[in-house]
Every structure is written in structure tokens, then in C-alpha cells.
């Protein structure tokens, strides 16, 4: 076999790994999970329970926390109910007791964890329950600590797949929260049932839209990974629910490649991250949907990232024109009918970039939980922790 063909085959192999295969499975997963979750999210809380909600607290750890960040605005836009994202350790150890269990079992605490075994989430829901909050667990494991300590459970059923830094589970977490938000708004008559179904259909439609864009997305992400593989650090920027994808991007770089990565919102970037000295080796990923109220600030940020000669990727549903023609590698993600649906797909490119860089640099996901990292085997770092309620 000629050398050039061997080289191409070897490269192709590098661009086909468990994490990238997770991304490639997302369109089918999206359609399959919608069919599973749509009826469940209708029935998990009764009319009475939905009408009782005065405030909502979304909590979780890691990717689940990102899913909460991705959907907080959707909860408020669709339901009008004040909604906070509270980390599990904040809810479990610090959240003001006087604000728990008020107004007949409020706030509603929605805790997300597919495994349901994280100690901090278990602790958070136990404390919330002890002080009179209503707890809805979103988990695939009803027998887990989260399942046991929840008043109601939205049971996830994510088909098994090759192990890799969470990609499929993140999608399902985001989808389940979006469907809950749509349901709450529908029952509380914030919009009609027809409108609610339109929101739902937009969710299901994202699978097909992503399927169409994936081939081009993979090609661009391969180019980015090749150019960026030697960088010591990466910077992920976004605001509003774009911030969740930026947060998720830094998480995937850390998990998959073991390299430093930062996450920051577009405003704080001007206060902090732009100071980095070695800008030409700071791979910068901006997540920027064109409908964002923060879009003008993102345009400014993109402009000054170029002034600093930063290698730049913009993940967007738009194009270079939406950013004043600024130089960058633009990665197209689906443009949904409703912006709330955007978080379902805009994280896909950051997973691909992380997956490809990990392969190109020969990194094992999560450092293989070996050597100094062996304490984290089987998630022990997050499951075996003292719970204090």
C-alpha cells in the first residue's frame, strides 16, 4: 500500500474513536430519547405539583451542572418561574436554610445525575428534602442515592455505548430539562398546547439538522485539532445559555486531553482572560448563537481576540457575516426555530475537537484512572465522599 494511502488511513483511524463515535450517534439518540422522554415528562409531575411551584433550583455536578446552566433561561422564559442553578455543594452545605421548604414545599429542586451515585448530589437532595423542598430526581438509576431521596423521579433510559467523556448523557440531560420546562409552561397556561407541541417538535427536529451538518463539522474539527494539538491551553467563551456549551467544552478538553482549559463569559473575558501572554498559542473557542441578547458583546470579543492574534473558533448557527466578517474558523451548528433548543447541538463541535486532540496527542480519557489518578477509578473520587446532612 502506498505511503500516502497508509498515512490517510492512519489519520482516519485517529478521527474515529469512542468520543467521536458518541457525537456521531447523537442524531439517532436525539430522536430516540425524545420518543422516550416526551410522554414521561408529561406525567412525572401532576397538575397540582406543577401549579405549586414558586421557585426552581436546578442542581447537579459536572456535565449535569452544565445541563442545568444550558436550560435555566429556558425555564424562566417558558414558565415565568424564577429559576436558579445551584451547585450541589452549595445546595448541600451553604444554601440559606431559611429559603428551603418555604411556601409549601418550595423551591422545587430538580437534581440531575444519570448514575445518581454522586455523593454531593445525594447530600444536596437529602438536605433539600429534610428542609421541606420537593425534589424531582432526573436519573437513570431509581435505586441510586439520588433516586431514593427524590419525591419523584424522571427515569432516564440512555442506551449503553462505548465509554468516553460524557456526551450522550449530556444531551439527554439537556433534553429532559427542556421538556420539563415546556411541560411546566404548558400546564400553567403560559402558551397553548399547540405552541408547546411546536417547541417539542423543534427539539426532535434537531436530530435531523445535526445529521446533515455533521460531515462538514467533523472535517472542520479535524483541521482545528491538527492545528491546535500542540497548544498548552484553551479558552472557552460564551454567555447566556451559550456559556453552558463553553463550560462543557473546557470540561471535555480537561477530561479527554488532560490539558489546561478555561471557561469564561464574554464580559468577564475583557476583565480577565485577554491578559494571557502567549495569545498565539491559546486556542480560543467562542460559542455564539446569533439570537443571543449578548451577541453584540460577543462580536466585540471576537474582534479583540483577533487583535491579540489568538487562534479562533466560533461555533454558531450563523456565519462570518454575523461577526463583521472577522477572521476565524466558523463551525456551523443547527439553527433551530426556537433559540431555547440551541443547547441540544451546540456542544457537539467541542466534543469533536477534544476527541480528536486526545487521539492526536495519544492521551487516554481521564488519564486512564491510573498512577496518581487511580483514586478516581470507577468514579470513586465523587462517590466515596463523606455526606453531611
Amino acid at each position: 500500500m502506498p505511503d500516502c494511502v497508509m498515512e490517510r488511513k492512519s489519520k482516519m483511524k485517529k478521527y474515529d474513536n469512542p468520543m467521536s463515535r458518541q457525537v456521531e450517534s447523537l442524531p439517532e439518540l436525539m430522536e430516540q430519547q425524545y420518543d422516550d422522554l416526551e410522554p414521561k415528562t408529561r406525567k412525572v409531575l401532576s397538575f397540582q405539583e406543577i401549579y405549586n411551584i414558586q421557585r426552581i433550583v436546578l442542581t447537579g455536578c459536572g456535565d449535569s451542572l452544565a445541563a442545568a446552566m444550558a436550560t435555566k433561561h429556558a425555564f424562566e422564559m417558558l414558565t415565568g418561574i424564577p429559576t436558579e442553578v445551584v451547585t450541589a455543594i452549595e445546595l448541600g452545605r451553604f444554601y440559606c436554610e431559611r429559603h428551603l421548604g418555604i411556601d409549601c414545599r418550595n423551591p422545587l429542586v430538580i437534581a440531575v445525575s444519570n448514575s445518581g451515585t454522586g455523593a454531593r448530589v445525594s447530600e444536596a437532595v437529602q438536605r433539600a428534602g429534610k428542609h421541606g423542598c420537593f425534589v424531582l430526581g432526573v436519573t437513570g438509576n431509581e435505586e441510586s442515592p439520588l433516586g431514593i431521596h427524590s419525591d419523584k423521579i424522571l427515569k432516564l433510559n440512555i442506551p449503553a455505548f462505548e465509554s468516553a467523556p460524557g456526551t450522550r448523557s449530556y444531551l439527554v440531560s439537556v433534553m429532559s430539562l427542556l421538556l420539563l420546562a415546556i411541560r411546566f409552561g404548558e400546564v400553567r397556561h403560559q402558551y397553548t398546547m399547540d405552541q408547546a407541541m411546536d417547541y417539542r417538535r423543534d427539539i426532535r427536529r434537531q436530530g435531523e439538522l445535526l445529521r446533515t451538518l455533521l460531515p462538514e463539522m467533523k472535517t472542520v474539527c479535524q483541521t482545528v485539532a491538527e492545528e491546535w494539538q500542540g497548544f498548552p491551553c484553551y479558552d472557552f467563551v460564551g454567555s447566556g445559555f451559550d456559556y453552558a456549551a463553553a463550560w462543557f467544552g473546557q470540561a471535555k478538553i480537561l477530561e479527554a486531553t488532560g490539558k489546561f482549559a478555561m471557561h469564561i463569559n464574554t464580559e468577564e473575558w475583557f476583565h480577565l482572560n485577554f491578559f494571557v501572554r502567549n495569545a498565539r498559542e491559546m486556542g480560543t473557542v467562542v460559542v455564539a448563537n446569533t439570537t443571543s441578547p449578548g451577541h453584540s458583546r460577543t462580536r466585540e470579543m471576537v474582534k479583540y481576540a483577533n487583535v491579540l492574534h489568538r487562534p479562533l473558533v466560533v461555533i454558531t448557527d450563523g456565519s462570518a457575516e454575523d461577526f463583521g466578517g472577522e477572521q476565524a474558523i466558523y463551525i456551523q451548528v443547527p439553527k433551530p426555530e426556537y433559540p431555547i433548543t440551541m443547547p441540544l447541538t451546540q456542544f457537539a463541535p467541542v466534543c469533536l475537537i477534544a476527541a480528536y486532540i486526545a487521539e492526536l496527542t495519544g492521551e487516554e480519557y481521564g488519564r486512564g484512572c491510573e498512577g496518581d489518578w487511580s483514586f478516581s477509578k470507577n468514579g470513586a473520587g465523587v462517590t466515596e465522599s463523606e455526606i453531611m446532612v
Binding site: R42, S46, F47, I50, Y51, E186, V187, H189, M193, D194
Partner: protein, 135 residues
């Protein structure tokens, strides 16, 4: 003869369809017969009511809602409380009405109008008018 009409409704609203039904009867050419007005929905109704005082419609709405309030303890929880109440309202008030056609006209009293009642909405709705001849 069957005529098909489409309307866009608002939340919990009332629509006067008397003119359309009269016109359907005239266009049918039927001199003596029966006219049926029918809606194919389960959260909307067809009724006869007096058109003269607009406040009467407020009374109608309030009485329907007093009899069948939108509650959160309906057993039917697949959709919304408004929808669940709408099903009961529709079942009790009915989804069709029949009228006599005499001398080519709809036989309606002076204080009678025909109304499409929306118990949910806003929705895209439809109703049908069927005219039969005695012959």
C-alpha cells in the same frame, strides 16, 4: 350539501357563526329541510344564545366556568387543566345543533344566534354545516 369553515380562535372565546350558517342554507337551495351545525373538536361547543346584550356572553362564560371550573385535580392529566375542563364543557354543552329550514331560510327566533364556543384556544378550529332537504 356540506360546507366547511375554518376559524382561528382566541382563549376561551365566543364566535358568532349565524351569518355563515344562514348563507349556507341559502346557497343549498333547500326550501324545506334540516340544517346541522357540527364541530369536530372535543374542547369546543356549538350553542344558541341571545345576541342582544354582550354582557350575556360574560354571564354564559362565568356560569360555564362556575359549573366546570378549571381545576388542577382532574384525572385527565395528559394535556393541561384548561384542556381537561374543556373536554367536560364540550361534552356537556354538545358539539352540534340542528335547525329547521323553512321556505328556504333558517328558522331562527329573533333572539337566537348560533355560536361556536372555544373552551381552550387559541387554536385553529373548523366547523361544518350540512343541509338536508325533506324531499
Amino acid at each position: 350539501m356540506l360546507k366547511h369553515y375554518k376559524i382561528k380562535t382566541k382563549y376561551n372565546d365566543v364566535y358568532d357563526i349565524t351569518k355563515e350558517v344562514r348563507q349556507a342554507v341559502e346557497e343549498s337551495g333547500v326550501e324545506e329541510g334540516i340544517c346541522i351545525v357540527y364541530n369536530p373538536h372535543s374542547t369546543a361547543g356549538i350553542t344558541v344564545f341571545s345576541p342582544w346584550d354582550p354582557d350575556g356572553f360574560v354571564d354564559l362564560d362565568e356560569e360555564i366556568c362556575r359549573l366546570i371550573p378549571t381545576r388542577v385535580d382532574f384525572k385527565h392529566q395528559h394535556d393541561t387543566p384548561q384542556d381537561a375542563a374543556g373536554h367536560v364543557k364540550s361534552a356537556l354543552l354538545g358539539i352540534s345543533n340542528s335547525f329547521i329550514v323553512h321556505e328556504g331560510n333558517l328558522l331562527l327566533g329573533g333572539s337566537q344566534g348560533i355560536y361556536f364556543l372555544e373552551f381552550d384556544g387559541p387554536r385553529d378550529r373548523e366547523y361544518f354545516v350540512k343541509v338536508f332537504s325533506d324531499k
